[in-house]
Amino acid sequence: MKILVCISKVPDTTSKINFVDNNSKFDQNGVQYIVNPYDEWYALVRALELVESNGGTVTTITVGNSSDDPTIRKALAIGANDAVRINANPTDSYFVAKQIADYAANEDYDIIMTGKETIDYNGSQIGSMLSALLEMPFVSLASKLETEGSKAVLERDVQGGLEVVEVDFPFVLSASKGMAEQRIPNMRGIMAARTKPLKVIEPVEQKALTSVVKFELPNPKTGCKYVDPENMEELVELLHNESKVI
């Protein structure tokens, strides 16, 4: 079994979000980067579990520059066999999907996994775009994955429920909560990660189809109005007459 897991670097979930250069750029000052939780906790760990029980390899792929290497090494420490980094600044989702598709097209992966979204841009786009570019089926928002020979049975989140679906290899999936449990890399994994192969390849040419013009922070709340815990009639009155939400 040959699995490709798309890994993205994102600011730690506790990061304060600020912008610089006239609100056009994310302020990286003091920000700790982590592997996107959906890529790591669910996609990567499930890929490793499958390979551990069925044999095979897990490769990670990232579109980014050398500042992504520490997070790629983290994924290798958790257990991926090797990594590919496409040496480019990820300009938009289509650019990223195009780079990954171009690489994956010649590699015969059985399963290509992404997290359901990254926690920075929350686009939820790469998996779906990859499936278009590679002409593969796409199982979105999968929370369970079992394989049997060259087919897979998955559970995915759909409007109003969970759907159980079956699909033959190769296919693309986006992983959501429930697919696996987070793994903490051990010392042996961390040591081994230092010497695992990290292949850096140059990007194919592709213009960005979209761009972020500027950022804005949401208006802060103006202050909390406290209501007597004995007097819920007052709260109902406020919700009805003041904020008009009920």
């Binding site: 979930t13 759909v158 007597d228």
Partner: protein, 314 residues
């Protein structure tokens, strides 16, 4: 401008459907595309929000992203559409980027506003899990816009919808649906206007009755914090926050949740936040509109009966 609006319709025109048509109508002439077993009367109702032409493909009877993507792409080509508008729900997330990539069109993922008044096509989206807003510009002639539920107020715009049944060869579905496990009849969290949520302060799954009773009285959807989903007190699909579901209801009531930054990221799109906590120092109060310093075990039942009295007096 020719706009293709893709929606899923079951037994009524949900708010998400109304929002999507409203958005499409703001951009130009709306051709609505849908599939499955939908009654003519419901299809005609889409005219109330501005759909002039309704295309229905009855031969697709399950949600398959490959068939739906092909259906959309064929319609875009046939009707020379410049805009494709859909809802950023589970189906939208599977189909929107696929359609965009196929057409090499720029995709707005999770639009929360109508386009800015500008020479460029610029739309706002939520980024950093709701901690910031990005203004995204699309550079391609065809634009795909997936709108975040509960972001666009639906607006009536009466016209008479003309219905055309279409039947096309869309290829064979490569994903086979074996079973659907329904999650109940409630409104899914991302679309819910009212949400009641609870966390570790509730002390155990056996105590969720008071949360559910309040939700029932309000007609709200229930949610929970991450620790509660992780220890199995509540199902994962109820977890709201940065690594769970992001929601933007009109009213979010949180009981026994301290308000860690990761939780706030998933809920700070809520219009009004009510926080119930015994700890006056809980960080959640800083993000709240209304705060109640008190024990959820007493406050929730009291609030439920106040809501019931209010409803019966209406």
């Amino acid at each position: 401008m020719s706009v293709l609006v893709f929606v899923e319709i079951k037994d009524k025109l949900t708010k998400a459907v109304q929002e999507t048509i409203t958005y499409g109508k703001s951009l130009g002439n709306v051709t609505l595309l849908t599939y499955g077993d939908v009654s003519d009367s419901l299809l005609l109702e889409t005219g109330n929000f501005g759909a002039e032409h309704v295309l229905i493909c009855k031969s697709i009877n399950e949600r398959n992203e490959q068939l739906l993507s092909n259906l959309i792409i064929n319609a875009v080509k046939k009707y020379n559409c410049e805009y494709i508008v859909l809802s950023q729900d589970q189906t939208g997330k599977a189909v929107g980027p696929r359609v965009a990539a196929n057409l090499e069109a720029g995709h707005i993922s999770g639009a929360i506003s109508f386009p800015e008044k500008s020479d460029e096509f610029i739309v706002k989206t939520n980024v950093f899990s709701g901690k910031a807003i990005a203004f995204v510009s699309v550079h391609t002639p065809i634009k795909v816009i997936s709108i975040l539920p509960n972001s666009i107020p639906p607006k009536e715009n009466k016209t008479t919808a003309l219905i055309t049944e279409i039947n096309e060869d869309l290829g064979e579905a490569r994903i086979k649906v074996k079973e659907l496990k329904p999650l109940g009849d409630g409104i899914p969290l991302p679309e819910a206007e009212l949400v009641v949520s609870a966390g570790r302060g509730l002390k155990g799954p056996e105590n969720w009755g008071i949360v559910e009773e309040l939700a029932n009285s309000l007609g709200a959807t229930t949610a929970c914090s991450r620790p509660v989903a992780d220890i199995g007190w509540r199902p994962h699909h109820e977890h709201v926050g940065q690594t769970g579901v992001a929601i933007r209801p009109n009213l979010y009531i949180a009981a026994g949740i301290s308000g860690a930054i990761q939780h706030l990221a998933g809920v700070n799109g809520s219009k009004v936040i009510v926080v119930i906590n015994t700890d006056p120092e809980a960080p959640f109060f800083k993000a709240a509109d209304y705060g109640i310093i008190g024990d959820a075990f007493e406050v929730l039942p009291r609030l439920t009966s106040a809501i019931n009295n209010f409803k019966s007096s209406q």
